[in-house]
Amino acid sequence: MPAPFILDRSSVTQVMAWVLMALLPGIWVYVWIFGPGILVTLSLATATALAAEAAMLKARGYPVKPFLTDLSAIVTAWLLALSLPSLAPWWLIVTGTLFAIVVAKHLYGGLGQNIFNPAMVGYAVLIVSFPVQMTQWAGPVALTETPLTLAQSASVIFGFDSTKATLDAVTMATPLDALRTGLLQQLTVDEIMTHSIFGHYGGLGFEWLAAAFLLGGLLLWALRIISWQVPLAFLAGIWLAAGFLHFFDAGRFGAPWFHLFAPSVMLGAFFIATDPVSGATTPRGKLIFGFGAGLLTIIIRTWGGYPDGVAFAILLMNLSVPLIDAWTQPRIYGEARKTREPPA
């Protein structure tokens, strides 16, 4: 073996473990605000992801243990689970996870080779294919008369008790849904915001979830597992785009703080857009990538067919990564300080 003969104590497993740790505050707040159903979703997604990962590794002739213990499949599973509606049926969770691991990850070449973020591919497939089931969000516990217990949540998710009546009793439109529906009914933003689902900045409870994801994200930044460029540019893109629209017509466009404090934005900014494999690598490229994703999120939320646009925004930016990287190659040591043609 040639030099160097020593290594820093870091590993892919360690990086992934920190990402999972940083999601814990968010999961805790999730349980607190929406009830324990998310734990069922997380477990099911994790089990499916590990099984699919092991099967695909075996099928592709890779050693199972070193790749299964890198924890990357669990990160994908958790990110997808946290993006799904909290009372999504079991087959939705399994389908999304399988698509993420089998198609978006392994059919693209496995760890490090996927162009698109696997969790977001899984999410996009589900929202395009099963738009109705993708709205089964439990309302915040504070607004629900009889919140579901863990067992009740499980029976809803696994379909033992998923009659329309049960679901109607516990599900509720998300704040973004409410905003979208309200705007379609020609209500003004101020009128819509009087609904009980809205809190101080974002949705009631949702804003706390967003804050918890923000906290976890700051932890990842403090540990230098993620760099500041992508989250900051992403949030700036959201804030500037939403602020611009809101400034011109506050009646038709939500406030920038409202858009910023959606959980999907914080999860997207700190945990999904920062996925190194599918993101830009150069410092300037990361800024462009993050800003573009933020901008597209607001465009999709405002004019697109879906209430939220984080997933599609990130997938679209994933597509642009090779171009962004090629055009933003930084100046190297000793290179003249001038603008440079991109390498062909």
């Binding site: 030099a3 003969f5 290594l7 820093d8 892919v12 080779q113 494999v277 040591y333 290179e335």
Partner: protein
């Protein structure tokens, strides 16, 4: 004296492991029974042996002379008999043998006549040639012949930097040398200043060597010129020449250029010491300080004669069971030794004995996840993850566009990689492939030119032959039509006449050939010859190019 320090991008902080070896006193040189002295110890052309098997040589005697400008001489490290001039295993990663002179020492350690040079009275170019003939080369690692670096040429070198960075973990030979020989180092610096005409002299030492900094500062106060001794942050590879320049001056050496292009020259402290020994004592470079550390009982620094087998040094430091190999150099850039019989050479700054505990086998590499920690750590400010991708895919053109050849192979990227990819290995592979392909391309271009020329020549010969035959046939036909009797009744007279005519033709032809066949020719024949000559000239012109390239090839 406070200097504004600058920071270079990247770098890592591996554990230093300096105290193991820098706390013991320096061990004096030992005299082995046999010295194996390679002719290729420096950059540039290897030295040419000047002794024969059976010759008695004295300590310090020239045994290999410098071959050309970028070269350095090689000397006997002790007195004895030359017993072999042949290929021996040398401290190179390839394990391939190289030309060495073997000296059976006689134990008398008898010096040649030597004494101080009156260097201030010498012409600068004479002094430089003298240093080349005393074998002075950079002891920091690259072993570049110092005489070349001490020639400012067309450049002005206002800034002279003396590098005492020694950022590689485990190595302490420069540290110990500065603690013990600060004054001699400064004497060497004075000679460098004399040769380069520098006005600003800075010694950069990493701040983890307080004793060395103190010793050098004290030595600096005794000089009649100003030397600034500066403590720089301890960060790997802060002791790299380009990094030291940026830390001390804030300037970057332009990509593809030399530091002299921006008026700066850098020498290692060991080189300054060797220079002082050469100038003030007339001693050629026949020994150096070597750190022997790692998995040994008594890690320490040892003065070693060039040519001493490395096992002799490891025995002094106390070899232990469980050694898993020896590195020449440190853990970041060191080279694994093919065995313990290889000799100490001018480049040997450290012998690092490995063990399973100190250097556990590297974990299995996982795929790159593009986390860009390598890019954050790269002091050349490259994008190692992209270079890796291109090297792995054999896309060498792209790798070069992404500045592969600006990589200094410091190993920072591999060190931080969470996927444990031996990145530097991929860059070395890509570089060697590119070199090999360029060589192949030159060779195949040459072969193609030769082949095309041969085809051309064969074609030409064929055509010439055909033309000759055609001309002959035409001449014959003309003759026959001019002489109707030839085709008429075949009577005896006509036959005779024909024979006579043929004879006359043969006579005439003979007469033509004997003087010079270019005289007295029919205009059409002359025309044909002129055409042939013109083609020949063209061929010569075509042939000229490949032949010249051929000669230029080494």
């Amino acid at each position: 004296m406070s200097r504004t320090l600058h920071t270079f991008k990247g770098g890592v902080h591996p554990p230093g492991h300096k105290t193991e070896s820098n706390s013991r006193p320096v061990h004096a040189a030992l005299l082995p029974n046999k010295l194996v002295i390679p002719m290729r110890q420096h950059m540039g052309n290897p030295a040419k042996p000047t002794v024969k098997v059976g010759d008695r040589v004295l300590k310090g005697q020239l045994i290999g002379e410098a071959d050309g400008y970028i070269s350095a001489a090689v000397h006997a490290s002790s007195s004895g008999i030359v017993t072999a001039i042949d290929l021996q295993q040398v401290p190179h990663v390839s394990g391939l043998p190289d030309l060495c002179i073997t000296i059976e020492t006689d134990g008398r350690d008898e010096w040649i006549d030597h004494g101080a040079l009156d260097y201030q009275a010498m012409a600068l170019s004479d002094l430089r040639m003298k240093l080349r003939d005393m074998g002075i080369a950079g002891l920091g690692g690259a072993v570049f012949p110092s005489a070349v670096k001490l020639d400012p040429g067309a450049h002005a070198i206002p800034t002279l930097i003396i590098n005492g960075g020694e950022c590689e973990p485990w190595i302490t030979c420069d540290d110990v040398l500065m603690r013990t020989h600060a004054e001699e180092i400064m004497q060497g610096v004075a000679v460098m200043r004399h040769l380069l005409g520098s006005t600003e002299i800075i010694v950069g030492i990493e701040e983890n060597k307080p004793e060395a900094i103190a010793a050098m500062k004290t030595a600096a106060t005794r000089l009649d010129f100003t030397v600034e001794v500066v403590a720089v942050p301890a960060i790997y590879p802060g002791g790299g020449a380009k990094q030291m320049i940026e830390t001390l001056t804030g300037k970057q050496v332009p990509s593809g250029k030399l530091s002299t292009d921006i008026g700066i020259q850098v020498f290692n402290v060991g080189t300054a010491h060797a220079l002082a020994r050469a100038v003030h004592h007339g001693e050629p470079l026949i020994s150096r300080l070597v750190t022997v550390t790692g998995h040994v009982l008594r890690p320490q620094n040892i003065v070693a004669l060039i040519g001493t087998p490395i096992h002799a040094l490891i025995e002094i430091a106390g070899d232990r069971d469980g050694a898993t190999g020896v590195l020449m150099g440190g853990p970041m850039m060191g080279v694994p030794m093919p065995g313990q019989d290889v000799p100490v050479i001018k480049a040997t700054n450290c012998l690092l004995v490995k063990s399973k505990d100190l250097f556990p086998p590297l974990p299995r590499a996982l795929p790159c996840i593009r986390c860009t920690r390598c890019a954050d750590a790269c002091p050349a400010e490259l994008q190692p993850q992209e270079l890796f991708r291109f090297a792995k895919a054999n896309e060498f053109g792209r790798a070069q566009e992404y500045h592969l050849f600006d990589c200094i192979e410091c190993g920072c990227c591999s060190y931080v990689c969470p996927s444990h990819i031996p990145l530097v290995d991929f860059y070395r592979y890509a570089k060697s492939e590119i070199w090999a392909r360029e060589k192949d391309k030159r060779a195949s271009d040459l072969a193609r030119e030769r082949h095309e020329f041969r085809q051309f020549r064969l074609e030409r010969e064929k055509k010439e032959k055909a033309e000759k035959l055609a001309a002959k046939a035409q001449a014959k036909r003309a003759e026959i039509t001019a002489d109707p009797t030839a085709s008429g009744a075949p009577d005896a007279d006509a036959k005779k006449a024909l024979i006579a005519a043929a004879l006359a033709r043969a006579q005439a032809k003979k007469a033509d050939i004997i003087p010079r066949n270019t005289d007295h020719l029919a205009p059409d024949t002359r025309h044909v010859i002129e055409e042939i000559e013109a083609r020949r000239a063209k061929i010569r012109e075509l042939a000229h190019q490949p032949l010249e390239t051929d000669e230029k090839k080494p």
